[in-house]
Every structure is written in C-alpha cells, then in structure tokens.
Symmetry: none
C-alpha cells in the first residue's frame, strides 16, 4: 500500500538574523539552544532560501505568497485586501479593499484626531451601524472592525477600480481629503464618487452614535468618521487547493497571514491564546498542529510570529528565548509520521536593524528519501552548506509536491 | 547616530579562470599570492556569481549592466551606443549610434583598406571636419574619433531606427555596401537614406583633407571614407542614481565600461595613467578610489582591466603577476571605514580559451553584519563553498542596498 504523505511548512516569522557582537559573532538562532531544530537539520536536507529574490526585503505577506507559489509581484496589489481577509471579511476577486482609521472630525471635516483617541472598545458596534449603509448605487459597502482604531472597508460591485487616492490627510488639523481617481477611467470615477459618499455618510451615521455620545461624555474624542486609504483590488488568485490538488489549512496567529490563507482559499484554524507575540500559547499551537495533522488535511501552513516581534523590538534576549521555546514545538511536530516537514523563516528580522531585511533564511526538509546532508545544526550559516544550496520561496511548493509524489511529469 | 554606509563594487575584469596543468591544476587566481584578497574572503561572506546566467558568456559591457541591475537583454541594443558613450559623446535615449572605421576607398567606392593603414594620428581633425555636416534633413550627425582607425557616429532626430544594415563590406577589394532597412518601417527607410548620404558626404569631405593629402604624400592609404556598422538605439535606461537613490561614480579604464556608466548616468572619474593594460598605473587608481570614497558619493563602481587583457593574450605569467599587483590595491581599499565592499570579476577570461567564458566568478562581500563564513581564500573554488552559495549579477545591487539599509520593504 502506498502511504499518502502529508506536507507541513512551518514558518518561524522573522527568525533569521545577522551575526551580533554581543553574541560573540553568533546570530540569535546560532546562540539559542535548539536541540530539536538541530536534530531536524541532521535528519534532513538543508539550504538557504530567498523568499522572493536575493536581497529583496520581503513583507511577511509577500514572503508567504511567494512560498505558497504565488508571484507577489502579480498577486500583491496592496495591503487592503489581505488585511480585510485577515479580519474575516470573505473577500472576492474584484472587491476593492481599504485599510481605514476611525478618526475624529469636526463639523467642517477637519480631522482633530486621526486615531480617535486610540479607541479600543465599541468599534464592532460602530462597524455594525456603518453596515446599515448597505448599497451605494449598485455597490455593496462592507465595514469590519480590526484592532484598536483600525478597520477595513470593502466595496463589492461592478465597474470598480483601486486607482483612487486616500482620504486620510496624514496630519491632524487638516480637512480630510476628497478622494479622486488616479486615472481617467470611468471605474476610478465611480469608485471615488461612491467612496466620497461613504465617508460623508460615515460621519452622519457615527456622529451621534451611542458609543460616541458616551466617549464625549467621558471627554474622549469620538470615533465619528472613517478615513480609507491603501485601495487594493482583491486578486484573482487560483485557489491553493485547486492549484495543487491538496486539502489545506493554515494555523497562523496574525490577521496578515490569515488573510493570505483566506485569499488563497485555505481553511483557517483559530488557536486560543495565540497572540502573535512572545507570550503566545505555544502549547495550544502545538496541540492544534498535532490534531489537524491527523485530520484529513494534506497540507498545513503554520506561522509562529513571536521571533519577528522580538526582532522588530530589537529585544535580543526575548528573541533567543522565544526561539528556544519554539524548538520544543518543533520537537513534537517532528514526531508526526508520514509527513514531509519543512522548517524555515519568511525573512530575517535582525535585532540590529529592527525591521525585515533581504538576507536569506535557513531551510530544512525532513522526510523519507530526502538527500540527507552533513549539516547537523539549524541556523543561517550551517544551512548555507547544505544539500539544497540556495533556493527561492517560489521553489518550495514544487519541491514539496515532488517529494509528496503529487507532481506530474512535464514531458515524457 | 546611524552611520550612512557607502558601497563599493570592484570588478577585476576577466580575473576568473579555469584550472591549468602548468599551474599544477590551479587557476591563476589560486596560484597568485593574494594575501589581501584572502583576508577579505576571511572577513566576508563569499560565493560564486553568474553575471548573466550560468553558462552564458558575458561581454564586459553586458556583465556590468547586469551587475548594475539592468537586464542586458532589454538594455543592450548593440555595442554602438555604449562605444559612443565611452568615447565621450553624450548620447540620449533614441539616438542611433554606430561603430565606424575610417577606411580607404577608391573613386568608385571600392574599399582598398578597411582600416586606412591603421591610421593613428589626425582622426580627431577628420572627425571635426565630418561634424561640419551638421544636419541631414532634420537629423543631427555627430562624429567622434575613437582609438586608431575607429570612430563612432551618432544620428539624433525624430523617426529613426536601428534596423538597418552595415556599410562595411568586411572584405577589401569590394565596394562598400549601400545601407538598407532591415524592416519595412518608414523609420528604417529614413535612417538608411540619411546614412547613405552621410557615407557619400564623408568621402567628399575627407578625400582632399589635409591629413589625407599628407598621408598620400607619405605613401600611406588615406582615411577618406567612414563605414558605419552595428547600429544600435540608445536605450531608455532609468538613471542609476534615480533607480537606487544613490550618488554614484565610476572609476574605469576602458571606454566600454565608461560608456556603460555614462549611459546610466554615473559620474565618470578619469585616472591619469590608467591604460586598461597590465602596465596601468595602479597607484593612481588606488588614490582615486581612496579620494572619491571620502567625497560625497554613496557608491563607487570600479573596473580594473589588465587581467582580462592578459587572459585575451593567453599570457599566464602576466595574468598572475597582474592579479598580485591588484591585490595591493585591495589591501588599501579594505582599510576604508563605513563601506560595504564587494570584490568580484565580471566574467572569466581563461588563459586556455583567450576569450570570455560563462564560468561563474568568485565574489566576496565585506562589511558590518554580513554572515562571515569559513572561506579564507579568495578564488573560484574556495568561493563556491561560501555562505552566498551561487547568485547572479542581477542580485548584487539588491543585496548591497539591503546591507546599506537603503531598501524598502515589499509588503508588510
């Protein structure tokens, strides 16, 4: 009987780094005690990977798209669609999606607080009220709250364009901007016309909203207007399951990665206590991986975010400690049978840079038949001498499908 | 305070080679004593590079274009434009440029000497006279002498095309060829019509030119006609400084590389005594690098040509000796602070082939935060086990900008 192999790609967000003087010239991943990752390097075939291309600084979103086999230069039309999908709006190809702020406006449209006093509570009710707008012309208007003062707006209907300007004036004390088309198309005209009305209506619907009446009473700036920016058209990406003939799910902590998974049509598994920070509940994440790997999924995409957060904060100790904690997750996932298991990062987030860089990341593939190499540690430098040499994110799904024996031959 | 890092790419033209029996199986770079390059390998991250693609034999021009981040298959329209720029014609996008010979023609147009007796003196005066042509129709005609019997011709005006044939008959004793359009476009017709008149006029203007009267008196063949070949349209390449937001300069010895730099809009630094041969003045080149690196340039492209010349000549001893001399230049450039320094070659010019080959070249990057690897010698084979693995010329600027912290993130 042929065993049907499963595939797991586990991405430790921003784990890779650069050598640091304070670690005696080691990287955090080199310095961390990672017996399980090292064991995986020993049992697998190793290499370094450029998520997009050598030297290109990837976002987590564009890196994941590339690793899943989508060309980010084609598919990534801006952050709006992925953010909207990430907060749970079931976006559809052709939708125009925006990132929005709940802001505070005076009667004449002057923005007095771009973040409405960093409002944290009640934005779900504000979004619910905004959704009573329903249709503008033949276009459906969909609001959804995100974290804090953030929200998303999706316009769905015929003849829309993402070639329109932002309403957000970027500075307080200025009036919000009238949205205009960035080209002369009737689509851009229609979209900007509708959006300008939506903004005006948001003020009408929110200015005396109970949530805002209460805020005003407490001396807090009311969240009485919505300012969209970063228009992007939801791309027509071929669904992942159809593209690869796989049944797939994504276990990710952040809306950004969940948004990617949603747009390509993967099932999204929520994990309780997954915060996306170094305080996340790794036990729950581990259990979710182990459980879902036994269900009828062929493929799991896993993203664990804490190392990236520590990198952005420039917090070396937290980064090292979190990598060591993640190592325990790896140890348990390695015990799964009949699985090709790929461990990597989406990009480097060096402590010394506090942002993503274009340095390649280490990658290891464990599973039956791989050409095990001499590498027996999992880190940036050891991986560079591995049997995979240097590959790209866009190679990974092809390599995995080939190992899973799910590829078809090109030619005879 | 954040230190603004500079970038230097130093290209030792044609330095890479193949193993040679007479060196006991070593390459010239392996055999040469290069303590400074080896030190740089030890301090840096190493790899091999294909300037264009594995196995493709690059010209120095196409290799440099690729390393600077321009796709040579898009930008390199032929040698004419780069040669014209290299001899100092300020070419503009859309110009049609030709390489020309000063030749000797008889009254009926038969070419009796394609190189006019390899004329060396007075071609500047011939070019000056040819430039009195001024306009043909609405097209400006610009001549400029190059080395020996060579010259360039640039046509500047509306409605021109590079799809036209050569005038050079390639064999002596034949009449020069009437230029014809290679397609049916009115642009090709116009360009060939003008070019045929320019060739005729060159004969009229040169046949009794004082320089030629004197040559005839001395029994030397007169340089009495100009034969253009290799039409190319000057590409509309995005200026380097704009593309990367850098202030850049090029220190190069040959017109070919200076032409590349000029077409992409870099400042060109002339160095006295830089011959492009093994006899070049490396002290002056070193001083120019050290001086210009302290000026307000962000980026220097350096090309040193002697090793390529020795390779073309098949002169092993000269190649090894020149590499050893260049090593001293590297030693001094390595002392510069706050610089990312990339040392490489543009292509191999193996002694045994006496021409460029598609073998990859070694490359090392030195500077803060690079993932220093175990390589401690700088040559073709050592580099192949370095931390960069195998990259392409088109990756280099992306990698450098990322290290210089001048990249922007693609995505979130």
């Amino acid at each position: 009987m042929v065993i049907k192999m499963k595939g797991i790609i586990m991405i430790i967000d921003g784990m890779a780094d650069r050598p640091l003087e304070e670690l005696g010239g080691k990287t955090p991943l080199e310095a961390a005690k990672t017996p399980n990752m090292d064991k995986m390097a020993e049992l697998g075939v190793n290499g370094i990977m450029d998520s997009i291309q050598p030297g290109i600084r990837p976002g987590s979103d564009t890196a994941h798209l590339s690793i899943l086999g989508y060309d980010p230069y084609q598919v990534y039309t801006g952050r709006g669609p992925f953010e909207a999908a990430g907060v749970g709006v079931e976006v559809m190809p052709g939708d125009i999606a925006f990132r929005c702020n709940f802001s505070t406006a005076s009667e004449d449209g002057t923005i007095t607080d771009r973040r409405a006093g960093r409002i944290r509570e009640g934005t779900d009710q504000l979004a619910e009220t905004l959704n009573t707008m329903g249709l503008e012309e033949d276009v459906q208007v969909i609001f959804k709250e995100s974290t804090g003062h953030r929200a998303v707006l999706v316009l769905r209907g015929p003849g829309l364009s993402d070639q329109i300007s932002d309403a957000d004036p970027k500075h307080e004390g200025k009036k919000y901007k009238e949205v205009v088309g960035l080209d002369d198309s009737p689509q851009a005209q229609k979209t900007s016309r509708i959006l300008n009305r939506v903004i005006k209506k948001s003020y009408q619907l929110l200015k005396e909203h109970p949530i805002n009446m209460e805020r005003t009473k407490k001396g807090e700036p009311p969240a009485n207007i919505v300012l969209p920016r970063g228009a992007g058209a939801v791309p027509n990406a071929q669904p992942f399951n159809e593209k690869y003939n796989l049944k797939s799910a994504c276990i990710a902590e952040t809306g950004l990665i969940q948004g990617i998974a949603q747009i390509v049509g993967m099932d999204i598994i929520e994990v309780e206590g997954a915060t996306g920070g170094v305080d996340t509940n790794l036990d729950n994440i581990t259990n979710s991986i182990l459980l879902n790997a036994t269900l009828d999924y062929d493929f799991l995409l896993i993203n664990i975010d804490g190392a990236d957060e520590a990198g952005h904060d420039g917090n070396l100790q937290e980064k090292v400690e979190f990598i060591e904690k993640v190592d325990e997750v790896i140890g348990k996932v390695m015990e799964l049978e009949d699985v090709y298991f790929i461990l990597t990062a989406d990009h480097s987030t060096p402590i010394a840079v506090m942002d993503h860089t274009g340095d390649p990341v280490p990658l290891v593939i464990k599973g039956p038949g791989v050409r095990v190499d001499a590498v027996n540690q999992f880190h940036e430098r050891a991986a560079a001498s591995g049997g995979l040499c240097r590959i790209r994110g866009s190679d990974i799904m092809n390599i995995l499908l080939d190992l899973m024996n799910r590829s078809s031959k090109f030619g005879a």
